[in-house]
Amino acid sequence: MKRTLGIGLAAVLLVGVVTAVVLGQDEDEPARLRTVRGVTGSEKLAFFADQRVKDVFAKHGLEVRVDPAGSRQIATATDLGPYDFAFPSSAPAAEKIQRDRKAARTYAPFSSPMVVATFDPIVDLLTKAGVVKPGPGYPTFDVRAYLDLAAKGTRWDQLPGNTSYPARKNLLVTTTDPRDSNSAAMYLAITSFVANGGVVSSPDGEAKVLPAVSKLFLDQGYTQSSTEGPFEDYLSAGMGKTPLVLAYEAQFADRVVRGDSTIRPDMKLLYPAPTVLSKHTLVPLREAGDEVGRLLSGDAELGRLAATFGFRTADPRHFADVVEEKNLTVPQTVVDVVEPPAHETLERMLEAIAKQY
């Protein structure tokens, strides 16, 4: 398998060289690149925009241009006509696209656990409220305890002894729109698991958990359709707007690696117990898109670069190196990870929630 990939890669490299030669470019002139267009979850935008990433693709004769969209939006609403590949942030969304578009295969080059990003004063409040607990080397967000608070419609200003954040709004994790976005679907995977006491796998299970999990979305009111939105709000508008935000670990890690001073010392990561992994999965829609998938999965340089954007890579060494080098406060291994429900189950639950808006 590995060897085949190596040969494939060499062939791609060769094509790049041949193309350059045929076009007769000299050293000063940039080689004419083949434009490949993709649509991707917003959390991977920065990766594709990075010059080093562009350079690697250029070496292979490609210029990759991406538009961001919510992953479920990519799977259901977006016109995929103009795109060579779709790159949603989860396996279930990719599965649907693959089925709809009859794609021969998919690539899953990166993954990232779902986390809750917050602030020190909120960590203190929620520790007292029994929601934040010390975990195996990292702080955890106890989903069961959170669901109990949310079920009662608890407001922040109703937490006993709360002087640091007495906001008159519900104690809720800010998510994206469950109608569009993958991270919201991942959140549903986590919360439905806890509400059901295991992966939801039957209509009875769906019916049992829906009232509780629907409330977590509906009580937020308007939610944005793409994960970058609430995370940017977390960074720029701060605690007032977004005391707790559901994010990909990669979003947070990426900012720390960049060292752009957007992550302030009072910002903290919590790992939901349990959590799920978001498996970023590329679906090729045309040949050029397939090439991008092959490169992302097989090219070591792209793997290393992906890790600097906070993604856990197929080869765990890349991410481990970045954690060590940048002194990231993230666990090497996240325990208490559960599987999301089957695609159809997840979709049915999301649709049932959507109907209540």
Binding site: R65, D67, P68, A69, Q73, A77, T78, D79, G153, R155, W156, A167, R168, K169, N170, L172, D177, D180, F217, L218, D219, Q220, G221, Y222, T223, Q224, S225, S226, G229, E232, D233, L235, S236, A237, G238, M239, G240, K241, T242, D260, S261, T262, Y357
Partner: protein, 537 residues
């Protein structure tokens, strides 16, 4: 194919009533390299200097065309926006994203800056209310408003985002449940909301006009009654403060605000060049230096977390109130605002039905009025119909004024009265001369009587005429008459509509002397102008 297109285009041009004007679907032209055509909220006009610099730095020039909140959403949803624009730029995408047909046409957003909607009051008023040096919540603000301890101006929520945000904010905060609004929650707090809105004495279709009118009234150059404060963007209030003799103190409600975040959003239909232009422009606008420049010149908060907001933003960490999660909840809230919550309106239409109005013109007038009776089923049309509790008087005139036709739209079952207005409108006929000023003067007799019976209403006059005055009373006579009016009548704004061969200079003066505003219907339909005026009534 091309040949076959020509007659269609020509016909379209004829219909638009002008052959050399821009295509109305493409007010800022065809796509071209290096140009980003943007459908935008009007408050973005103050960003022009930043955009000029952006054009120099990036080679991308931005062409803005302005529209209202709901109308903009409608243009995106219907696909009309795609015909003439590459991107949209409103103070928020929240409403757009609640309309499924609009949401699917939205591509890459880049949040450029932010500004919360807050209350500005003069310092003396703040002290009088006992609010100096402490934070107050919406409930306390609503109570003081209900007791008429202060008055304020706010924009029309269906036309402008600042009014819309304020409406959502106060409703969310007062509902006290902490979670997002639905109809039941709105109904539960309707009495408190009525209290809050009872102190709103000035309305406008745009944030810009609202603050200008406020400043004119504060400075005494507008005959309208003074207004204590304004609900508007923090940025608009900070800018306004630079021009006021006594600056306003900004009240940031402790239980939260609704904040505009200005996402410059590509439409999914945009071509490759426009995408590139959007990318370049977004990168430029989100550059740290440009973010600081935006903060300095427009008083909006930076979107980039690396850029520290400066000291003029006295309250940094603002609680953001939840926003409704469905279009039906929002539309219901706006409808409730108009039909039940706000101070009711009294609107007088002085309408030219002289001989020169014959043909298309009188038909256009009929349609414009019928549109306001609920026949216009567009989103914006729905909200601009005559509202529950509104007093509507039609005063048609030709060689002299005809009898005034008075209606009062009931709160609960408006249909029968709206139908009567519609019947009257469709039977308007054109004949005779154009006695503008004696008819307008007669209008004040109607209003005097109505005000004496019920003073607490938004009162305004729409004056629609298509030509020069032919009556014996002239503009100078009206001017003299106007100066003799008592304060409550003198302060009634007149909104002249330019149409046909209107006497532009006189109409400007009529608007100015009354604190009104001129609306131009010469290059668009009377319906469009009448709809826009609704924001000011």
């Amino acid at each position: 194919m091309i040949r076959r297109l020509v007659p269609v285009v020509a016909a379209a041009a004829l219909l638009a009533g002008c052959s050399d004007e821009a295509d109305p679907a493409r007010p800022v032209g065809d796509p071209e390299p290096g140009v980003l055509r943007v459908l935008a909220g009007s408050e973005l006009a103050d960003l022009q200097p930043v955009l000029d610099e952006a054009a120099k730095a990036t080679g991308v020039s931005v062409k803005l065309s302005f529209t209202g909140t709901v109308e903009g959403a409608e243009k995106v949803a219907s696909g009309a926006a795609e015909q003439g624009f590459d991107a949209v730029w409103f103070s928020s995408n929240r409403y757009l994203e609640l309309v499924p047909e609009a949401q699917k046409r939205l591509g890459t957003p880049a949040k450029v800056m932010s500004s919360p909607v807050v209350l500005g009051l003069p310092d003396a008023k703040v002290r009088e209310l006992g609010w100096a040096g402490r934070r107050v919540g919406w409930a306390e603000i609503a109570e003081a408003a209900g007791a008429r301890k202060f008055t304020y101006g706010m924009t029309d929520p269906s036309a402008s985002n600042s009014g819309f945000s304020a409406l959502v904010g106060v409703a969310a905060a007062l509902s006290g449940s902490g979670s997002a609004l639905d109809a039941a929650r709105v109904n539960a707090v309707a009495p408190q909301l009525e209290q809050f809105f009872s102190a709103q004495t000035l309305s406008a279709g745009s944030s810009g006009w609202l603050s200008e009118a406020y400043a004119r009234r504060a400075g005494g150059t507008d005959p309208g009654a003074g207004v204590d404060g304004l609900i508007n963007y923090e940025s608009v209030l900070l800018s306004l403060n630079a021009t006021l003799p006594a600056p306003l103190t900004l009240i940031y409600p402790s239980d939260g605000v609704v904040t505009a975040d200005y996402p410059l959003t590509l439409l999914t239909s945009a071509g490759e060049e426009a995408r590139e232009a959007h990318r370049k422009l977004s990168d430029h606008l989100r550059n740290a230096d440009v973010q600081r420049k935006i903060m300095d010149t427009t008083h909006r908060r930076p979107a980039l977390p690396q850029v520290q907001p400066d000291a003029k933003f006295t309250v940094r960490d603002l609680v953001e109130l939840p926003f409704p999660g469905s279009q039906s909840a929002v539309d219901g809230l706006i409808t409730t605002y108009f039909d039940r919550l706000r101070r009711p309106s009294r609107t007088l239409y002085v309408l030219d039905t002289s001989g020169s109005m014959q043909g298309d013109r009188i038909e256009g007038l009929r349609q414009a009025l019928v549109g306001l009776t609920g026949a216009d089923e567009s989103l914006a049309g729905k909200f601009s119909r005559f509202h529950g509790r509104e007093q509507v008087t039609l005063l048609p005139f030709s060689s002299s004024a005809r009898p005034a036709l008075k209606y009062e739209v009931p709160q609960d079952d408006p249909r029968p009265v709206l139908d009567r207005i519609r019947t009257t409108a469709t039977s308007l006929d054109a004949a005779g001369g154009t006695a503008i000023y004696s008819s307008l003067r007669g209008g004040y007799d109607v209003l005097r009587e109505q005000i004496n019976a019920d003073p607490d209403r938004f009162t305004s006059i729409v004056l629609m005429t298509d030509g020069e005055n032919t009556g014996s009373e002239g503009f100078a006579d009206f001017q003299r008459f106007h100066t003799t009016l008592p304060q409550d009548l003198k302060g009634i704004p007149i909104f002249p509509v330019l149409f046909g061969e209107s006497a532009t200079t006189e109409m400007d003066q009529v608007a100015k002397m009354s604190g009104g505003k001129v609306f131009d219907a010469r290059s668009r339909s009377l319906s469009a102008a009448f709809k826009e005026i609704r924001g000011y009534q």
